[in-house]
Symmetry: C2
Subunit: 573 residues, 2 copies
């Protein structure tokens, strides 16, 4: 079908090709290639612009935890960034006072833990504790005096059984890369780190099912699978530090969600230790199992407040060889939406990312980041789209992508666009999309919101916010359009209560009215525990509280997080 249209409309398309620009020197040759294709359809394929393979490595280290592994481009701004952060971040939760129901750690407790875990598994050194008490943004800081490092599910069970009987509060910790204060203590909770439980247990090469311990670092799993010809169904900026147990516990989203769906679909089984030490073996490796209630889902995204995930079974997709990337421009938000609709149909099975940024985000990146060039320099556009495709045959994927771009140009959805020709150009495109948070930090104070909204409403909140704020602040929007996930940022010279009062509670109320989510992918943690009612009904929150009471009657698991304090503490003796 596409080829027929290409042939029939070749003259018009050739005329329009002056608008579809290609990167740097290759632009003319590619345009020529596309012209000649309309006459001689297939010969050109191998010469077309494209890059492939290894593009996934672009995210390495971007959000690595604890300052280790921060990429060079960020290192320079690190201290400054943290300063700006601590000065400017909106929605810093009011720290709730320590729940007096929880016991204080005694010498007897330490002795008991040493008996279970040995000396090595009981950490009391201040330096190590300081790292574990602090989140990677240095926004949240607890005062725990004890970190335990179990090496097996049995040890986790023994620890929890003891803590529950003593009413000692605990915070489960993986890579500590969370963004909402969920993985660090609020007060003196015992830190239970699963980092030492990092074995791959099994991998089935036919089914692609991986079973591993919770402490496996995501990037290590990606590397392991790469050798087996598979990939992880999730990919995050934090992959160099984050652990699969934490990914599951926070229902991490990431860049592959549009293609491979959420962890509720990919995770096939879990082993979880409950607050009282009971080990729940739900570690199935089956795609289909309809025998009773599927309880594992309760622990996916409950941020360690219902149990500690100790093992994970996950379905991994086969690795495909061809990856393409396009950087495109649209004049209005409606066109962005229509382009998404078209991409879903015309790129269909190969679409693997559909990201957007508005002109404010683009300006910010061009202004504040070094070495960034506008891939479409001839004029400014209101919206930019990054489309990635992943498939099993390079020639097919390129052909589909180019046909899609041509028809989108023809129909007026696109006003300009380039296709990356090699991994460097692809990286430079991703650098624009992924450099926005860094550019925002450099620009001054920033109020950050991570919203999920129906796609057709997504940009309305940006327009309304601009109207509310006028010239007082710069409203910047970007995000995962394909998933309905908007990162709304308000950038100002400095932090100002009058600006904040224009933003909150308006942004939460607006999101709530659209039945959106006030936390698309970061979770609630400590930061938004008391804001849950903006996205969940009273009856639902009440039932969550009942679940918490049922599974953790003493409330020892990750206290002060996820649920409003009034609800999560009502079960504490």
């Amino acid at each position: 079908m596409t080829y027929r249209r290409l042939k029939h409309s070749s003259r018009n398309l050739v005329d329009q090709l002056s608008n579809l620009k290609f990167f740097n020197s290759s632009r003319s040759s590619i345009s020529a290639g596309l012209q000649s294709r309309s006459i001689q359809t297939f010969e050109l394929v191998k010469e077309d612009v494209c890059y492939h393979k290894h593009i996934v490595s672009r995210h390495i280290c971007f959000l690595k935890g604890s300052g280790i592994g921060i990429p060079a481009s960020l290192r320079g701004v690190q201290s400054n960034a943290f300063r700006i952060h601590s000065r400017n971040l909106a929605s810093v939760a009011t720290v709730p006072s320590r729940n007096p129901s929880f016991a204080m750690i005694s010498c007897d407790d330490i002795s008991y833990f040493k008996k279970i875990l040995g000396e090595k598994g009981v950490v009391q050194e201040e330096l190590k504790l300081d790292d574990a008490n602090t989140d990677w943004m240095r926004k949240y800081k607890g005062s725990s005096k004890l970190m335990l490092q179990p090496r097996s599910t049995h040890e986790v069970s023994e620890i929890l059984n003891y803590c529950n009987s003593r009413c000692l509060a605990v915070v489960p910790q993986g890579g500590n890369t969370g963004l909402v204060g969920g993985s660090v203590p609020v007060h003196d909770e015992v830190i239970i780190s699963v980092s030492s439980m990092n074995n791959i247990i099994s991998f089935d090469k036919v089914s692609g099912i991986l079973v591993c311990e919770a402490g496996c670092i995501l990037e290590n799993l990606i590397t392991f699978l790469d050798n087996e010809g598979y990939i992880m169904p999730l990919d995050l900026g934090a992959k160099g530090s984050c652990q699969i147990g934490g990914n599951v516990s926070t229902n991490a989203g990431g860049l592959r969600l549009i293609r491979y769906g959420s962890l509720h679909g990919s995770v096939l089984g879990l082993e979880v230790v409950l607050a009282n030490g009971t080990v729940l073996d739900m570690l199935g490796t089956l795609r289909k199992d309809n025998t009773g209630y599927d309880l594992k889902h309760l622990f996916i995204g409950s941020e360690g407040s219902l149990g500690i995930v100790t093992k994970v079974s996950i379905l991994t997709p086969p690795k495909l060889s061809s990856v393409n990337l396009a950087f495109l421009a649209c004049e209005d938000y409606v066109s962005c939406q229509k382009l998404l609709s078209e991409a879903k149909r015309k790129l269909g099975e190969i679409l693997s990312a559909f990201e957007f940024l508005d002109v404010s985000a683009m300006d910010l990146v061009l202004k504040h980041l070094d070495g960034i060039r506008d891939p479409l320099p001839s004029s400014k556009h209101n919206f930019y789209i990054v489309i990635e495709t992943t498939g099993s045959m390079e020639s097919h994927d390129k052909e589909k992508l180019e046909a899609f771009l041509l028809s989108s140009m023809e129909s007026g959805l696109l006003t300009d666009g380039v296709i990356a020709q090699d991994i460097n150009q692809a990286s430079s495109f991703w650098r624009i999309r992924e450099g926005i948070p860094e550019a925002l930090m450099k620009a001054g104070a920033v109020y950050k919101y991570d919203l999920s909204l129906p796609p057709e409403k997504m940009y309305d909140v940006v327009d309304e916010m601009r109207e509310r704020l006028g010239t007082a602040a710069n409203v910047v929007a970007y995000g995962h359009l394909g998933d309905g996930n908007l990162h709304l940022n308000i950038s100002a010279r400095e932090y100002d209560d009058s600006i904040l009062s224009q933003i909150e509670p308006f942004v939460y109320e607006w999101t709530s009215k659209q039945r959106g989510s006030i936390s698309a992918e970061h979770g609630l943690g400590l930061m938004k525990a008391n804001k849950i009612h903006y996205s969940k009904s009273a009856e639902t929150v009440q039932l969550m509280g009942a679940m918490k009471k049922l599974l953790d009657p003493n409330g020892i698991l990750n206290p002060y997080k996820v649920l409003p304090t009034s609800i999560s503490q009502s079960g504490v003796n």
Copy 2:
């Protein structure tokens, strides 16, 4: 890559092409086509054998409920089949005695329900009740005297609130197409049919998110979406009768699971009415929402025993235009597995079904069904594979499929194969795969098991079963290899306790040892409620019981089902 290999090995491939046969008269032209492709690569594409579009309609009516809409091919055997069924089905559950805690329906109750629902919504006619009391296989039969037909969530809420206060047991019913006795009363439970709640509430053309009431018939949703350019992520033989609320409540699997995953991934939101009438509004339409525990998953697959699903929000994939089907032969099970592995990689993003049957299943179909021809008649093969691809560009898909088949022939994984050239041939291939249950019924007594097993172990149970039974019975295996779902059937001339004792509990114990599931896609219902421990650990079942008590303390929702009676009734006052 594939094309290079095609060119380099063209002579060998051409020699081997005599093994890769194509259907009927077209065989020679296709072989010629593949030969010439090795020289002139692309010209042939448009002439290649293929069928496309509308193939999804092949399943219409196959398992329709209550005898209505049974396809012509089945109608002839219907009465006989049911007779054989009632005589021969293994694992018919012992019907538990009526729980005396439940109240009996009084005249006052009827008056109350008429006040809420009007005369029309309260069904007491014997004929209608007879249908609703009986499952479609006529294997299970309740004795309810009352069916309620609410038209809104509010009415469902009022009914349940009342029933709970009176301790009247209820059974939620959708299309009543279940296979394990989950959707009919066991005794005199009030039937709550959601069939009248069949409105489509909204559809977002950009995101593909559909929101509808629970009583929408799956096929109607498929038709609606077809006009919008989308498809449902699940497709079942029962689609002409089954309802989306029932699909969700039973976590229906079906034919598209290998491509689109389970309903835990596709369902974005639910509205559910709890036993006490509380309406849980979890009807989100967001792909990402990490605000608290994701409670909707509790109701997916809990078979109406925790709440009644009243509305569903579901992510639907865009409709793609190209569908291809191949019928293939392998000599051993290891080759079937390897072929799956290769298909996942080489067909990658276009693979949409990977089904298998063994030679016993093939023989049975050829012997007992009229009008079936062996697509590979030159010799018998030990295993047959049906591969379906679905993609957005026909020429690409055909090219991928043919390249995959050629390389699989070359490597010896395949011994023979055909590609359907049109929808009739495709239907005839599917008829073989889908005709197996009918052929089994015609062959005599049948003991049916629906197992989920690790792919590498899946066929071992078949071999072991053959060894145990010797000449006493015919062991027949088929199923969704791509999902690890085996339909194991033991066919005998007549029902015999000595045969049954050779099968059970062996088959359950064997499955349990492999950490398999004794119910891959049908649920537990009444049939297997007391067998849950074969697939779930004691701690997990105990927690399920606690959930049941929490959400339905009087145990009025679908009693005697899903959980062992000892557990599900322990909460009844």
